[in-house]
Amino acid sequence: MEFFLQLLVDGLTVGGLYALIALGFTMVYGILLMINFAHAEMFMTGGFIGYGMLNLFGNYTTIGIVSDALPFMSFLKSTQPFFTTTALGFIIMMILVFGTSAVLTGCLGMLIERFAYRPLRNSPRLCALISALGMSLFLQNFVLTFVGHRMVFPTPEFLANLDAINVFGYIFIAPIDMIIFCSALVLLFVLDRFVNKTKLGKAMRATAQDKDAAGLMGININSVIALTFFIGPALGAVAGTFFGMKYGIVTFNMGLFPGIKAFTAAVLGGIGNLRGAMLGGFLIGILEAMASGFVSISYRDVITFAVLILILIFRPGGLLGESVVEKV
């Protein structure tokens, strides 16, 4: 039982990350009927930007280099202790790190949509898929060539000094896991409200249902799609930065596996369905934790992929999705 609960905690943490990534997949699929392969790279890019930002605030070496190049940035030297050791500083730093990572990656997502996908909107779906795969390859190797193969994430002192949270005396939750889980829940809640309660959200839902009709009703399809390509990558970037903080490392090819798992989550929940993707993310996270705990950690990924294949074959509509009849 202890073991089970401990695994559940792990599963929920990782599941939160998967849910955040899965939303990007499911939103794009809902609107463009396209698997955005490059979305996994948004997660990776977000992780690298997060790495850069965290160093900018917390790493003396980085700050030194930056303030040599840009003297006006030298104030960072004096703020570094505040950001890394105090609770308030840590929270402000987190907001800055995650905000920058999300906004930059979101913009990158919009750029990709504009230049790689928009020209293909009326092409066969497989063309868009190959284009997305190419984009993914490009981004990975761009980072590999111009940034580096792997980056070791710094752990802010404040976070390192926090003790693991002890529940019932036998389950230990690492502080970062707690942060991840709570942040994921908050973001998912906000997004759900946004899509279901705001005017823009309504426009997104209308576009997903019928692009042409939505266009005729005066919705600017291009901006809705651009917005989708901002929100998805922004959430992916948050997940990527969390991933770096949790595992202490980001690599150029770290997107692939979480990407596929998040896609599995999106399909499991019913692709195109936001709440489905959230549910799917947590389910896949838990499944994976249980698989590594009770079966074998080396077969963890095999099990997830097998689940993906089984769902696609037997219930391609997912848990909350519905099947569609092709019009002849």
Binding site: L133, Q140, A306
Partner: protein
């Protein structure tokens, strides 16, 4: 599918025509004589070009080995293997219009099957004959991979294109991870096969060729049949066979059913094409060449381990097909040479002419190459979906525009209506 004679449907005049000869119902309807067929034949100019290319390809290793360019020769072997992989993938994506993002799965299955089959087979054949194990192992590995392709095709038949891509990707990763994990002690995990102590048999005539063929000219030029030279020719041979076989399959009833399915699945099935069967064959035949390439790879290297069978390499094979030209064999050949050849050439140049550190530069070039590949795939899809050398429509030399043999006057009517229907008002 059985042949059916529909003469029961025809009118009396049709039955008269049926007396002229036997054959399909349409022939009995119309009569007519045949001339030699055209499909699948190359024009003389193309024949000459292919001949020239063959001569260059045959002489190249003699020159390279003679001049001591050993690494460049090994690169050619690698290019050949990737072209073989791409040819197999081309069946699935270029001809049948399905996506496969897990090409490495079949490459891996073929390579491991070859390692597993070769040693007992060589023992069985004895010391003198063991060199002839390779052809059997090659075909055997192809068949094992084809069987795996068949098994994979069973559940995924109903899947849409993009889901199929994801499933094949997942399958590729499942195969790689499973191999790494050494299930039932079959694959020997990260150490790979063959296990220490086991020795792969030499390929046919290799020992004889190595000992008996020597070509020396002056001080510079010294040629013997090394491993690289041998495998260069062997893979060239396998490639030529593959190209002939794949072309033949494409220019056939099966090839047409693939093309029809690629163009419009609903129309194809309404016209009587068994889409499930066509898809299965595409998977099986595509997997066969993946497996055959894997066997060649395993024998060329002398051993296999799980590292090369990554998703990235599957994507590179896909890029060869997409950038070269989906469904176009010349396109695949050119794509393979450009994509695999470019970093190898730079690596070779750096090592030989820029002094040390060539390997490192080669690696960086490969990363840069992948970056460009990605960019090219994106640009290609936006501006030129058909690739560098597009697939050509299959032209046929007509057997003749002979008289319409059915009823009197029908031919005239048909001829009137033929060129355009503008003046056809009654």
């Amino acid at each position: 599918m059985t042949k059916k004679n529909t003469s029961t449907n025809t009118t009396a005049s049709m039955e008269d025509a049926a007396v002229k000869g036997k054959g399909s119902a349409a022939e009995t309807l119309f009569g007519g004589k045949a001339k030699p067929m055209f499909t699948g034949k190359l024009s003389p100019v193309k024949m000459a070009l292919v001949g020239l290319l063959m001569v260059v390809l045959l002489l190249l290793p003699i020159y390279l080995q003679g001049m001591g360019e050993v690494l460049l020769l090994a690169s050619f072997v690698l290019i050949g293997l990737y072209i073989l992989l791409a040819l197999g993938l081309n069946i699935i994506i270029g001809y049948a219009g399905m996506l496969d993002f897990g090409r490495m799965a079949f490459y891996a299955v073929g390579a491991y099957a070859a390692m597993i089959l070769a040693i007992p087979l060589a023992n069985l054949m004895g010391d003198n004959l063991s060199q002839f194990a390779f052809p059997f192992v090659l075909i055997g590995s192809g068949i094992v991979a084809a069987f795996v392709g068949y098994l994979l095709s069973l559940p995924v038949m109903r899947l849409r294109g993009d889901y199929l891509a994801i499933v094949t990707l997942g399958f590729g990763e499942i195969v790689r991870i499973t191999i790494q994990n050494n299930p039932f002690n079959i694959t020997n995990g990260l150490l790979g096969l063959p296990r220490s102590g086991d020795v792969l048999p030499w390929p046919p005539f290799f020992e004889w060729l190595r000992e008996n063929v020597v070509l020396v000219m002056g001080n510079e030029f010294y040629f013997t049949v090394t491993r690289n030279v041998y495998w260069y020719y062997m893979i060239l041979l396998v490639l030529i066979i593959a190209i002939i076989v794949v072309r033949r399959q494409d220019n056939s009833r099966l090839g047409r059913s693939w093309a029809a399915m690629r163009e419009d699945e609903v129309a194809a099935t309404a016209m009587g094409v068994n889409v499930t069967k066509a898809k299965t064959w595409a998977f099986v035949l595509g997997a066969f060449w993946g497996g055959a390439a894997g066997a060649c790879f395993g024998f060329f290297q002398g051993s296999v381990s799980p590292e090369p069978f990554t998703f990235l390499n599957s994507v590179i094979v896909l890029a060869i097909v997409v950038i070269g030209g989906m469904g176009s064999i010349p396109g695949v050949l050119l794509g393979g040479v450009i994509i695999m050849g470019f970093p190898e050439l730079v690596r070779w140049f750096a090592m030989n002419h820029l002094g040390g550190g060539g390997g490192d530069i080669g690696g960086q070039v490969a990363n840069m190459r992948n970056l460009l590949l990605g960019l090219f795939m994106v640009i290609m899809m936006a501006v030129r979906t058909e690739g560098i050398i597009p697939m050509k429509p299959k032209l046929h030399k007509l057997y003749g525009k002979g008289k319409f043999g059915g009823t009197d006057g029908a031919a005239d009517k048909a001829a009137e209506a033929a060129p355009s229907s503008k003046g056809g008002a009654n």
